[in-house]
Amino acid sequence: MNNSFINLVTLQIKEFYREPEVLFWSVLFPLALSAILGFAFSQQGVKESSVAIIENTFTPIHAGIARLQSQSFDSVSNRQITLLVAQPEQAFLKLKRGEVVMVVEPAANNNLIYHFDPANEEANLQYLLLEKKLHSPPAGASTVRAVSTPGSRYIDFLIPGMIAFGLMNSCIWGIGWNLIELRIKKLLRRMVATPMSKSEFLLAQFTTRLLITFFENILLVLLAYLVFDLQIQGSLLNVILLFLAGNIAFGGIAILIASRPERNQVGSGIINFVTLAMTILSGVFFSYTNFPEWAVKIIRYVPLTLLADGLRSVFNEAADFPQIALQVVLLLGYGIISFIIGLRVFKWY
């Protein structure tokens, strides 16, 4: 038997494992990135930071400072704060060099002057912590409870985003780049000169990618489950549905991107632009709600955001089909419309 569709799919998959670099960049790299980010942001160790206190005439007589020890530990923020007493010039030099996050200057009448960059969140945090310690305790008692149940940790936010991110990259680079390369090598031209069916050819591209992304993501989810105890709270069927819709969306976009370029640089330029723009905007690594409100309204409908948000809601909030229906439909819309436009302007030779 010598079937063209099977040949097109199996040859692409064979190429995938015959080129070890391809395997590394498309499978191991996203895994490693997830693991690194996961560890980096869910690290349990004590964070340390230092604050400089200026030694002047008020230092020894300041009521609050006298109570402070040179090192103190804050259990809620899990921080070890080190206080360094220093001369003014020394203290500000340390601030410039980043050795301390803030300089505290004692003043008359038990007053304090804090010197720090308000844009530095660590410094802001230290300011609040020190204010609490250095002045009399607040009226009522507050209790803090740490939240670390599955579904609300950073890793739970990250992994569905990584799946969406990986899917986008795999489809756009895998299909888009492959088509552009076939065109540059004039292999596309050679193939179209045979009775090969164009739709079968494109369908084979899509099918190959579906198989590969499926394999990639099984590994990613498995890693997240084993290392970070990731749980899928919603139905697996909905995950698969979003996964398919994502494949169609990015497959279609890939074909649109690849429809014209005839040179490597142009092709990689366009692909980089599209994937990088979506990666930055779509809040794969960090929430996109930090963007201005008007931008957030647009960002919500970027394909990568649709997929990441959809997957997150199923993974972490147990969303059921009606809640992800809009995302699925919009993703399918992106895919189908891009595919139709792409096919219409596609340069086969």
Partner: protein, 311 residues
């Protein structure tokens, strides 16, 4: 017997950004006929071939192949054609037999056929080798194999032996001659190599700037367009042009370096050569380099256009 030619090309023109690559060109190719398109780079050979292949559309004029046109019968025409494009690069990490199987499957051919082709192109021992490991000649043979898969009525080969060593070239020639004899194939071949055109083809079509300059058999081209033989020489001190024209049988003097390095077109080397040698010696001059030969297509092309085929 076929009463009409396999390919009839009527007054086709194709321009790119205002420049005419093919200019009002008319040509026909018969069944089992091998035709060479000979011309320098940029003459319009590839554009012409790609229009026959259906990869480009002429701006005006018509192409019919077995009475069919690309507009109406593209699917049929694809099945009767075998194509080898200029520099197609097959995927590096595919094996030779995978490439043949893949293209075979586009024609719905079984692996039995693709294995036969592997034999025909003499690459059996490379069946499992990756494309990336093949030599230039082996790659060209593979491209030829892909072109032959569907037992095409018409082969269109764009510079199939450019850059190959003489042995590899010879091997490809043998395969093509076998095809002509055994399967009655027709072929259009573009080439820079006169000896390739001479060895393989029944007719040679010389193209420049999108137009046909000459279209005939090699023998006719060489005898009827600008007959004669060539003496190329170099002397130690300058000769006068007039003295050369006075020698009987000299038809043309072409100086590469005025007075010192030149080419004579003569009716017959054997008649002119003794007189020329005598002239040089009697004036105390010496010949420092010398070559005499029959006229080539390159000489013919030079006479027609003032330029060399290889420029």
């Amino acid at each position: 017997m076929h009463t009409s030619p396999l390919i009839t090309i009527q007054a086709i023109t194709k321009s790119f950004k205002g420049v005419k690559a093919v200019d009002n060109l008319t040509l026909s190719v018969g069944y089992n006929e091998y035709v060479a398109l000979l011309g320098p780079n940029g003459a319009g050979k590839t554009t012409l071939v790609e229009m026959i292949e259906g990869l480009q559309k002429p701006d005006s004029g018509s192409i019919t192949i077995q009475g069919k046109t690309w507009q109406k019968d593209a699917a049929f025409l694809r099945t009767i054609m075998g194509i080898s494009l200029q520099e197609t690069k097959f995927t590096d990490k595919m094996t030779v037999s995978e490439v043949l199987d893949l293209f075979g499957s586009f024609y719905k051919l079984g692996k039995k056929v693709t294995r036969q082709i592997l034999q025909t192109i003499r690459l059996e021992e490379k069946a499992k080798a990756y494309v990336v490991t093949l030599s230039g000649g082996q790659r060209q043979k593979l491209a030829l194999g892909v072109a032959m898969l569907n037992n095409p009525q018409l082969l269109l080969l764009d510079e199939p032996t450019t850059g190959l060593d003489p042995n590899a070239r010879r091997e490809i020639w043998d395969i093509l001659m076998q095809l002509k004899k055994e399967r009655g194939t027709s072929m259009i071949l573009t080439t820079h190599y006169m000896e390739e055109a001479a060895y393989l083809c029944d007719r040679i079509v010389i193209i420049d700037k999108g137009k046909i300059l000459a279209d005939d058999t090699l023998a006719t081209l060489l005898t009827s367009y600008d007959p004669g033989e060539v003496i190329a020489f170099q002397v130690s001190s300058p000769l006068a042009t007039n003295s050369l024209y006075e020698i009987r049988g000299v038809k043309d003097v072409h100086w590469i370096e005025e007075g010192v390095k030149g080419m004579l077109t003569v009716e017959s080397i054997t008649h002119t050569l003794p007189v020329l040698l005598n002239l040089v010696e009697s004036s105390g001059n010496t010949i420092t380099s010398f070559e005499s030969r029959k006229k080539t297509l390159d000489d013919l092309f030079r006479t027609m256009t003032g330029r060399s085929l290889h420029e």
